[in-house]
Subunit: 336 residues, 2 copies
């Protein structure tokens, strides 16, 4: 049997348990040439999934109602009809919210080892790569520039902060909890703001960035983006990686201070990490090196049981997670 | 005597006559070394002046209350203590809203001729250069791309439209009058929208740009920017030259569809034309050539009398002008 979570209806606002359903299906192990069957061991939970299951205009076809929820995962090949992978290979790719994934060999990639495979869903996976592309490929910070990061303690944000430090920036992190901010300070972030308790975010940014903000790694949009816009320096670069403030809404919360982009000769750039595949090898190589050198620290938030994936998604939407959210699949179907 | 218009109070909303005052002062003709006295013959009226006399955060120190209103102009040198200019030289620069301007020689530039000097405030001046930098230096359109221009019949927009055509783009112009749109069609714009009468701008853009918008030359911000964002194509470039919808307000009208910048891997870039001075020579050379070849047509809207400058500014803010707005100064003071 294969347990999987399907989308029952498109969520209105924050995803609810009723939007999903755990179903059991007989596992079809018949493979076509070029296909492999992967036993999914880790599922990645990411705010972007809220977009994938929504109906808004986006960069992907949304998950259709009745289908398995789209998501990255890591696992072990249990059957293979591809010369590229043999039984026992460790792989990652879009395996979705299910215990077993039948996928084309061309849609998955081999993991270098299976020590902490969840790292390949986080700091060495989509979120770490997103941070790398945002900071090292798009923002290209120079020494002593001031960089602000929102959801700074998150899976993308925390890596972005540390990449900024490696480049010699002053880094200011915005998060929604004092505990997260304490951790950010421990890992070397120069200044922190708790957006939930600060009386005036614009003023707080002004105090921490008296000469203005050179770079903003934006994962949020909305009011925080507006507060940053009010503090951008000449030639500021805003890299839009996400807009979590909008994901549960029909429309994003408004921004009003975009005319400062003109007067400050600033730029805003959006991107989808998958379009930068040609940088992934070097990114993983560099990130691995910096992890080994203790220049990049990372945190995972592990939730056990595939049935808890919807709750885990809700947690990343509200910021209840602390670290990269991953679900550890506990296989209940008989061993194949 | 020197007649000049000073700012009496910062306008609230649309500038009113009472925000300005025409005063007469004795003309001080005593020059320091390096200064010249210019008889101002033409004054340029530009939406950006609304920003310069406002109190918002901008790229320049705002005009202080009690001071002459800042503005570009063209005129004739009547006294010179600089070897760079002699009596009778034709010049342009920030001459402000006054009959005579005492300026540093380094702050003005010589006009190649005094045939239609007002052209050097328009198509060959700040507005034409703004269009040139936006299109040819920042957007860099490729053949067959779809370019949308707002305030398309305006001083910047109309040149931007034609620069798009020269580059081989399909150009769609948005203006606020059918007469303006008829003229846009005459000068080669492929599709036009009257934003004041169209029932649904987003849908209208979708019909005219079924494959999406590659380039948007934005002079407006607000709702029109949102409607464009809903129609941007992958890798779209939005060049922000101005945000006229915000100039009479304390804050700009909101935009909500900025998350599409992420999913479409789009970019937004703001700029101030003065920061691209190194391109001015080549721009004027190219623009002059295209005017001569009839590839660029231009229109000026002339208002007579310095006392009408405030009204002329109001007209460009509401779109009552048709063409680059210039004020022809009628000198009433005795000839020097």
């Amino acid at each position: 049997m294969n347990r999987k979570i399907i989308l029952v209806q498109r969520p209105q606002g924050l995803p609810k348990d009723e939007d999903f359903k755990l179903i059991e299906e007989p596992l079809n192990t018949a493979l076509e040439i070029g296909e492999v069957l992967v036993k999914v061991e880790w599922i990645s939970i990411d705010p972007a999934q809220r977009v994938w299951i929504g109906a808004g205009r986006s960069y992907i076809t949304p998950v259709s109602v009745g289908s398995v929820v789209k998501g990255m995962g890591a696992g072990i090949v249990v059957f293979s009809k591809s010369p590229a992978f043999k039984r026992g290979s460790f792989v990652t790719g879009f395996l979705h919210w299910q215990e077993y994934a039948k996928v084309k060999a061309s849609d998955i990639i081999r993991l270098p080892s299976y020590v902490n495979p969840q790292l390949h869903l986080g700091v060495l996976g989509m979120t770490g790569l997103t941070a790398y592309v945002a900071v090292n490929e798009i923002a290209k910070p120079r020494k002593k520039e001031t960089m602000v990061v929102s959801t700074a303690a998150g899976a993308v944000g925390s890596i972005a902060c540390q990449l900024g430090k490696i480049r010699g920036c002053r880094v200011i992190g915005i998060s929604g909890s004092d505990a997260k901010n304490r951790w950010l300070t421990e890992i070397g972030v120069d200044g922190v703001i708790n957006y939930k308790t600060v009386p005036n975010l614009t003023q707080a940014l002004k105090s921490l960035c008296p000469e203005g903000i050179d770079i903003y790694i934006d994962l949020v949009g909305g009011d925080i983006l507006d507060a940053v816009l009010l503090n951008i320096k000449k030639y500021a670069r805003i890299v839009m990686c996400g807009a979590i403030s909008s994901y549960n809404l029909k429309r994003a919360p408004p921004i009003r201070y975009y005319p400062l982009i003109i007067s400050q000769s600033a730029s805003v750039e959006g991107f989808i990490v998958w379009e930068h595949r040609n940088k992934f090898d070097i990114a993983v190589k560099n990130l691995s090196k910096w992890i080994k050198e203790n220049k990049i620290k990372h945190k995972e938030h592990i939730v056990d049981g595939i049935e808890n994936a919807p709750r885990a998604l809700r947690m990343v939407m509200t910021g209840e997670n602390f670290g990269k959210m991953v679900v550890r699949v506990e296989h209940q179907s008989p061993k194949i």
